[in-house]
Amino acid sequence: MIRIGDAPRVRRLLIGVALALTVLFLLLPLVAIFAQALMSGIDVYWQNLSNAYTLSAIGLTLLVAVITVPVNLVFGVFLAWLVTRFEFPGRRLLQTLIDIPFAVSPVVAGLVYLLLYGRNGWLGGWLDAHDIQIMFAWPGIVLVTLFVTCPFVARELIPLMQAQGSREEEAAVTLGASGWTIFRRVTLPNIRHALLYGVILTNARAVGEFGAVSVVAGAIRGETNTLPLQVEQLYQDYNTVGAFTSASLLALLALLTLAAKAALEWRAARRETAT
């Protein structure tokens, strides 16, 4: 059999190009982040890290992720279930609507929320009267992050659940299983890999979102700065080492998520070959 690129020389060239690009575009920037952060030594790194503003940014970023991920997990599963298991008028429209956060620039999303919940916004007056602050505070940041990350889980699940169909669930119901039992023992195990992947993407985006958050956060140091905003602000202040210290944290979070995903995949693969 002859395949394109099967000649040894072509193969070596292709592999070489792929490796070079990976190093140049993926690995090198990652190394650069840590190199910059540790440029002035580990002591300065710790100092930058234990800075009160940075600590507050870390806390806020984690808070946003801790709220956003579970909410969008539940929402995404629910939406995917609805769209793939039921026929109702407006189903296709709903499927299109899910993609809005992907289609819209995050900055626009932030502006829309500002328009809605800001002091002069449609709901702003009412919120102000009841002394509820959403914009330029953590609830606003959580709201826009929810908006920006809401399609990830559903988008991962819908094609899979469509392909799997509802036959197994029907089989389970003919065997007398309750709705919750079916979900827990039949649906969930079948979608768990896609679900996990959706969660990882949601988390990565929730932690790293800049555009939408920067519009609604108002850049109040130590109060409404998430890590990405903190990076930007420090950089504007010519504090390169500080900026890269925060950036290295973000990079570390990303690496941890990837490692978690790889570990889970490895475990699943091992369990399958073992049986």
Partner: protein, 361 residues
């Protein structure tokens, strides 16, 4: 457990999937729902299962009205065309699912479940495969697991949706025989859907022939074949040859072909006959002068299948003749012969009529 279906109907949007249908199934009967795709047979099966809601009518299992009973409380076993096994569970867990999904108060102990599942696996001859996963089994084995799973809760009624449709011919034959055997041994009431006439005739105590959401005939396989209620049933249950022509003085003429049709009124008519009702001869007879030429010969099985063509024929005829006749006539492709219908069927009268036997000179 008997099943009584009365006036069940179903419409999807503007499509009438089922005209109001009545069907009585006796306790312990094995009933085949036979029809082309889109005839409503699967819809009817799913309504009986409770997977689909009828627009009107009622369903009784024995004396129990189950029309509005949820699937999970109907006590049915359902076997899907593509098995629908739980892909992430072992064979054992698949079969045990119905038992382990019971509310804690009714659930048998782990030991009891184990015994029951192993019994079922033994029954479907898969006791050595308990730890395997569905993807590691052949189609026939998967369907047997699916049967064991459906029988685990001792259902009153077993429903099967094209159970052998996705299997190859040999496995299908084996599973059919085995299902028949199982049915006699366990004596549940079953209803199965198929589009394969041979399967329906071989397995069923009675066959329900459906088309366009209507029941065309309910009868034993033998009656169905010998006394089809209408033209649809006749055509659906086997190969059919058509003969169309003008009748005058009880003789049908079509081009240079003629055949005596005693008792048929004048006018243009269409008569039908099965391949085994065509005899072949080297000479025309006083009753029939139907010149044909042989276009294909298939000498497989107990009979020889011959394809025939003629100017007076719209579409080719098929004749099945004995090997003895085949040798006597020394049939080869291109040979010219004369066809002799031994029977002719007509369906343009209120009741189907058979002109038989047409004495052959």
């Amino acid at each position: 457990m008997s099943i009584r279906i009365s006036q069940i109907d179903k419409t999807y949007g503007k499509t009438r999937a089922l005209e109001p249908i009545d069907l009585d199934i006796h306790d312990g009967e094995l009933i085949g729902l036979l029809g082309p795709s889109g005839s409503g047979k699967t819809t009817l099966l799913r309504i009986v299962a409770g997977l689909e809601q009828a627009d009107g009518g009622s369903i009784h299992f024995g004396e129990r009205d189950v029309t509005h009973v949820h699937v999970r409380d109907r006590r049915i076993g359902f076997v899907f065309q593509h098995y629908a096994l739980f892909r992430h569970m072992s064979v054992f867990d698949n079969v045990a699912f119905g038992l382990t999904a019971m509310p804690r108060s009714q659930r048998p102990s782990t030991g009891e479940i184990r015994t029951r599942v192993m019994q079922l696996l033994e029954m479907v001859r898969l006791q050595d495969f308990a730890e395997r996963f569905p993807a590691q089994l052949s189609g026939g084995q998967q369907q047997r697991v699916s049967l064991a799973r459906a029988l685990a809760l001792k259902p009153d009624v077993l429903l099967l949706d094209e159970p052998f449709g996705a299997l190859d011919a040999k496995v299908r034959q084996e599973l059919r025989r085995w299902l028949r055997h199982l049915h006699e041994e366990l004596n549940f009431t079953s209803l199965f859907v198929t589009h394969d006439q041979e399967e329906a005739l071989e397995l069923s105590d009675r066959v329900v022939v459906m088309s366009n959401g209507r029941v065309e005939q309910i009868a034993t396989p033998d009656t169905l074949y010998r006394q089809p209620a209408n033209r649809f049933v006749f055509e659906f249950l086997g190969d059919v040859n058509r003969l169309e022509g003008d009748i005058e003085n009880q003789v049908l003429t079509c081009g240079n072909a003629r055949v005596a049709v005693p008792g048929v009124e004048n006018g243009r008519r269409e008569l039908l006959l099965r391949p085994h009702e065509v005899r072949l001869d080297e000479q025309p007879s006083a009753r029939a002068h139907l010149p044909v030429s042989v276009t294909a010969v298939v000498p497989v099985g107990a009979e020889v299948r011959i394809e025939l063509e003629a100017d007076w024929l719209g579409e080719p005829w098929l004749a099945t003749i004995s090997h003895a006749d085949f040798e006597r006539l020394a049939i080869t492709r291109g040979k010219r012969l004369f066809a002799q219908p031994s029977r002719l069927h007509r369906f343009d009268t209120p009741r189907p009529q058979t002109l038989a036997p047409l004495s052959v000179s």
